[in-house]
Amino acid sequence: MKQLRSYDESIHTEGRILTGIAAILILLVPVAISIYYDSWPSFGKLITPLLSVLAVYAPVALIEVATYAPMMGAGGSYIGFITGNISSLKLPCALATLEANKVDVSSDEGEVLSLLSISVSAIVTTLVVALGVLLLATTNIGEVLKNPVLGPAFDNLLAALFGALGVVYVSKNFKIALPPLILMILLFIVAPDLSVGVLIPIGAVFAVACARVMYKKGMLTKTVEKTEEAPVSEDPQE
């Protein structure tokens, strides 16, 4: 137990320090650009677009932290939030890993596996994009990537991702899945222009509320419980 507490403590200490340094470096990018081009936009020039962006993304930030941090675990949250692309990449990646290993993020093994998968995901994305940038700057690959034939594949990446994830999660938690699915279908018919940033909190809150009601009524007794510490792998081949 003492060991676990110190791991937990160190995750938060190191997470805060490293995230803080990264945040400062990210802030220094526009500072460096301003110094280099000797161009400092006036506050008046920035405030209008900044407020319009914050009006949408400040609530999104609050919702994302409240919703995603519990699902990614302690360490996973720090590296996940600093690298971004959470809901479309890091979070599904972590959850797929947890699912494959039959552990819950709230277990010790789950916390570690979540952190491992999110870190690997961050490394791969960073390297793929960096390599791509190198090729973009030195070759004609930009033309190849812009080929309209490839368009449908990447336009439908989320459909592909969530189709697969949906099968896994919906089949295992059908009762919990049904209310938000029905709500989303109705919203899709009634208000198809709602952005995903609005749909996520609606879906999450509604799903949790319905799950709570079902839980209190004893309708969820067969839900797979992964809250016990997952048995450590006893693979005799190791």
Partner: protein
């Protein structure tokens, strides 16, 4: 320098590559730091090397296709903003759905298109500032509150572990439902211009629906194979396989469906 990958020469100045490179290098360092930490703690908890390796490999495979999607966004933004700024912006915080509106907000305030706004150092700098400042809140919140949030989750788990498990499932299912709905919207991106989405047509919605169903079917087949033949190795790769196959099929569906379905209403 390729003419299509910049709006003005200054956007691809080597200095900008250096700044971007420094930030990206630090983020990479941070990811490796946590990876090593996770491996060490995993071994201490008794997780086998095989299990850790498998988890790492499947996370890597899972990430490749979405990473190329991120790179594609760099390509489309590069037409207006050059390469270095989109590179650093898409490697840190935020996501595709944020970076474009943030840049566009500055262009709107300046009364022009994104390309015209970014074509001068003044406009380019303003865009860099807004893109950066607008997204910092989530990182600040994580630094301040992550420990409390995780602590709260632990307390919740100790009080009512069953509800804790259900809560996590409900949160993610709410998320999946929202994304399923949005993924089926049928909107596509004009790859030559970052701020133009092509409105949905019957055809594009059909392609999305078919892609989703294909992915679900392949995933279900993988599940059956895993059960019947006990192919444990498939567990880690089923999702990437389903994704990549169905993304490939999206190209096929797009070609095969009648062109008339893709005309805007």
């Amino acid at each position: 320098m390729h003419a299509l990958l910049a709006n003005a020469d200054f956007q691809n100045d080597p200095f900008l590559y250096v700044i971007a490179g420094i930030v990206v290098a630090f983020v990479l360092f941070m990811a490796f730091w946590f990876l090593i930490k996770a491996i060490r703690e995993g071994k201490r908890l008794g997780l086998s090397t095989k299990k850790l390796k498998d988890a790492a490999l499947s996370a890597a495979v899972f990430t490749i296709a979405p990473s190329i999607a991120v790179l594609l966004t760099v390509v489309t933004l590069a037409g207006s903003l050059g390469i270095p700024l989109p590179w650093v912006r898409l490697s840190v915080i935020g996501a595709i759905t944020y970076e474009v509106p943030a840049a566009q907000a500055v262009a709107d305030a300046m009364g022009g298109t994104l390309s015209s706004a970014a074509s001068t150092p003044e406009g380019f700098t303003a865009i860099a500032w807004v893109m950066t400042l607008g997204i910092m809140l989530s990182v600040i919140l994580i630094i301040l509150f992550n420990k409390k949030i995780q602590g709260g989750m632990k307390i919740l788990k100790s009080r009512d572990p069953k509800w804790m498990s259900i809560l996590m499932s409900a949160l993610f299912l709410g998320l999946i439902s929202a994304f399923l709905s949005s993924a089926l919207s049928g909107e596509t991106t004009d790859r030559t211009q970052p701020n133009v989405t092509i409105p949905a047509t019957t055809g594009s919605i059909l392609v999305s629906v078919l892609t989703l169903i294909t992915s679900a079917v392949v995933m279900a087949i993988c599940g059956l194979l895993m059960k019947k033949f006990k192919w444990k190795w498939l567990e880690n790769y089923a999702i990437p396989i389903s994704m990549l196959f169905s993304m490939g099929m999206a190209i096929v569906y797009n070609m095969v469906l009648p062109a008339a379905l893709f005309v805007a209403a």
